[in-house]
């Protein structure tokens, strides 16, 4: 999805470059008038030069041509003035008496009236044609923009980015400043903006949200404001309004009329609203799915914990009842063994409780599960190994060997969690290794540190690696041995919380045995410059 979003964003940037700055379709009034004066003067000059060849009807046709060109090329003012000037010039230079605006013959009157009428008619028709062409072009452009907007928004999944993309597009296309605002009871929060900032009246925003329709510039409601507000999203917690202020010098931008511009704005806002609704629906569906998964996970978790607790509880109860019911005939040695078993099982239960607490912490949704700090893997390994050596795990003497490079870089991890990861892996290795031999090795692999824990037990079943993603998996030996379900799940969760990778595999040296590897990336090392002298 991220690649897709990036592609859309780049496409949007390319598009916005292609659009370029907005242009002014109609020249100023002065320019229009100047064009019409010059064109009439030019046609008069040409007619005078070729009067003998053209005769009067040809001259009239030339003046018609001038009016048409002015109407088509310059606009309403140019065509109107051109029609008047053409009639005046024709009268002055070509109708008897010449060089005078007087008209002698009735026939000449009729010619002048016809010229004026036809000039006005042609001017009007040409202008209508021009307007129709502009409207059609605008509508085509509007459809194209709506399609572009939808296409850009489809690839995005962050609400803020979607709003900013829409603001950029509308600002460029409509020619003005855009702000997307979210009104709150006491303040107004700006979600996106493009163009010159402008102040928006808080009451107008609230009115727009309350009534769900546009208000401001060019609308029936509060039309005197220099900007128009359009509702985009209405749910109370995400309500937002898009405000558009046209450029003061560009009137309606490229739009043929104010109404056309407002219609386009409304259509684009509807597209934006639909895209936001779609994004919200996808998010809600994802959250619902996550909640369902959490629920399933919680149930599986509780079942797994109950199973893991039941086993030591059974041992404790058996040992305690044996001690109580037959105390008088038990030898001191036998009683000591039973008491030791109780102690071992209690420690096992304490470990399960630690794992449960860690699991709760790691799955806490509203806070970061990591308390990351600069840590030395050498220290953590030393701490865990010394604790494991202090006890005779399940009455099997442990042989733990370590290979840790002396120049190991620091890692940014949650030390106690990595320590717990190693505890779980060592417990598992000790449980499955008949000779109790465990090798701990730290090595670098590219830009990663890899922590390997290998034992000389029977190794993992080949199918187990693929089951890592399914939580609380326990081996097929549930009935006769303690499962590694909870412990493995904690290890996997710890690895994931560190953006690390957990691997279950065979030993690297090819011997029989299991290997659990944790791959961590090591970041840029902290500086040493302030460490030289104590204060």
């Amino acid at each position: 999805m991220q690649h897709f979003s990036l592609f859309r964003t780049l496409a949007y940037k390319r598009w916005s470059k292609r659009l370029g700055p907005t242009t002014e379709p109609f020249g100023g009034v002065a320019l229009q008038l100047g064009v019409s004066v010059l064109s009439t003067a030019f046609i008069t000059g040409v007619s005078r030069l070729f009067e003998a060849q053209l005769h009067l009807p040809g001259v009239v046709m030339l003046f018609f041509l001038g009016v048409v060109l002015c109407a088509y090329g310059s606009g309403v003012y140019a065509s109107g003035l051109s029609a008047l000037l053409s009639v005046g010039a024709f009268n002055y230079f070509f109708v008897e008496p010449r060089h005078s605006l007087l008209v002698d013959a009735t026939e000449s009157w009729l010619t002048l009236a016809g010229l004026l009428f036809l000039s006005a008619l042609i001017s009007s028709l040409t202008l209508r044609l021009q307007m129709a062409t502009q409207r059609a072009q605008w509508q085509q452009s509007q459809s194209e923009q709506a399609r572009q907007l939808l296409e850009l928004l489809i690839g995005l999944d962050a609400r803020e980015t979607m709003l900013q993309v829409a603001a950029d597009l509308m600002s460029k296309f409509l020619g003005g400043a855009v702000q997307v605002l979210s009104p709150r009871p006491d303040t107004t929060h700006q979600l996106a903006a493009q163009g010159t900032p402008f102040d928006v009246d808080h009451r107008l925003l609230n009115w727009v949200l309350a009534h769900g329709c546009m208000a401001g510039w060019g609308t029936a409601r509060e039309g005197h404001w220099p900007y128009v507000c359009v509702p985009v999203e209405l749910p109370a917690e995400q309500a937002c309004v898009l405000c558009f202020q046209p450029h003061p010098q560009q009137a309606f931008g490229m739009a043929p009329s104010r109404q056309a511009l407002l219609d386009t704005l409304r259509i684009l806002c509807q597209q934006l609203s639909l895209a936001l609704q779609r994004e919200r629906a996808i998010r809600d569906a994802r959250e619902a799915w996550t909640a369902k998964e959490q629920e399933t996970l919680r149930n599986t978790f509780l079942t797994s914990v109950a199973h893991d607790l039941r086993t030591p509880l059974a041992s404790i109860l058996a040992a305690a009842t044996a001690l109580k019911s037959a105390q008088h005939w038990h030898s001191g040695e036998h009683a000591t063994r039973l008491l030791e078993a109780i102690g071992t099982e209690v420690r096992q239960m304490a470990k399960i409780t630690d794992n449960v607490l860690t699991m709760v912490r790691l799955t806490e949704r509203h806070q970061s599960p990591l308390r990351a700090d600069w840590e030395s893997l050498e220290e953590i390994i030393g701490d865990v190994v010394s604790r494991h050596r202090q006890r005779d795990f399940l009455h099997v003497p442990l042989t733990i060997r370590t290979w840790v490079p002396t120049d190991l870089p620091l890692v940014r991890v949650d030390g106690p969690l990595i320590s717990q990861f190693m505890d779980n892996v060592l417990d598992n290795a000790a449980r499955h290794a008949p000779q109790g031999q465990i090798d701990i090795r730290v090595r670098t692999q590219g830009e990663h540190l890899v922590l390997d824990v290998e034992d000389n037990g029977p190794g993992f079943p080949s199918a187990l690696s693929g089951l890592l993603t399914s939580r609380f998996h326990r081996g097929d030996d549930v009935s006769d041995r303690r499962g590694f379900g909870l412990g493995l799940t904690i290890c996997q969760a710890i690895a994931q919380a560190h953006q690390g990778e957990l691997t279950l595999a065979a030993r690297l040296d090819g011997e029989t045995g299991a290997r659990v590897s944790l791959m961590l990336s090591f970041p840029r090392q902290p500086t040493l410059q302030t460490l030289e002298m104590p204060t």
């Binding site: 700090d373 030395s376 220290e379 010394s386 002396t406 106690p416 320590s419 460490l531 104590p534």
Partner: protein
């Protein structure tokens, strides 16, 4: 062992077991089930040790710890079911001398009490020469030797080592060590400690990855072990 112990524990089963076990070892134990009763007891008589549970019905455990520390200078050992490292660090920074997470064995509790007693007795003597296995450390002369061969430590490494030795086996939090060696401004720069403890371990320990002298309690702090 003997001495007066104030035990603050609201759970009757736990209180009974600790009371009877310590009494059998020769201690005189006063058992309080609330924080307020402990504070009242402290006003009447000063014990040799305080054993404090953090989950009490009337006063927050850490708050009680700070209030006890105002009037009581002796060793305080926390007995708590709260096992997260952040809680241990808070208690140790607020004046506790050691922290034992429930469940624990009585042997472990007695061992911790012995360490605290030795430390308490050592505080009264201003020794400068210490030995750890075959290491000889002279705090006045700033020297460390192993089997007669001098080990060169930089000023920071020696200050760090000396701070741990002066604590006589007590667990020192990262914060306390950073403050003692680099000053108050550096209390959050834990990487200083990681780097210098690594250097120190490489010089002091026989196998740095399997330390026997400079012990780490991950997420909490460091202690020195084997001081004689």
């Amino acid at each position: 062992m003997s001495g007066l112990i104030y035990l603050t524990e609201d759970d009757p089963e736990m209180g009974n077991v600790v009371l009877s076990s310590l009494s059998r070892e020769g201690f005189k134990v006063c058992w309080f089930q609330t924080g307020q009763a402990t504070l009242d007891g402290l006003r009447q008589m000063q014990p040799d040790f305080c054993l404090l549970d953090l989950g009490l019905p009337d006063i927050d455990g850490l708050d009680l710890l700070r209030r006890i520390r105002v009037d009581f200078a002796g060793p305080i050992l926390i007995l708590s079911a709260r096992g997260f490292e952040t809680q241990k660090v808070k208690a140790l920074d607020d004046g506790a001398d050691d922290y034992l997470v429930k469940p624990f064995g009585m042997g472990e509790l007695l061992a911790r009490l012995r360490v605290l007693r030795r430390r308490q007795q050592g505080l009264q003597s201003a020794r400068s020469e210490w030995t750890i296995d075959d290491l000889v450390i002279d705090l006045n002369r700033h020297s460390v030797e192993r089997a007669g061969q001098p080990i060169h430590l930089t000023p920071i490494e020696f200050t760090l080592f000396a701070t741990l030795i002066r604590a006589k086996g007590q667990l020192l939090t990262h914060r306390k060590l950073l403050q003692a060696v680099w000053g108050s401004d550096a209390v959050d720069q834990t990487h200083y400690l990681r780097i210098y403890m690594g250097k120190l371990r490489a010089k002091i320990e026989r196998i740095p990855a399997e330390p026997t002298i400079l012990l780490t309690e991950t997420g909490v702090g460091y202690r020195v072990c084997g001081l004689t």
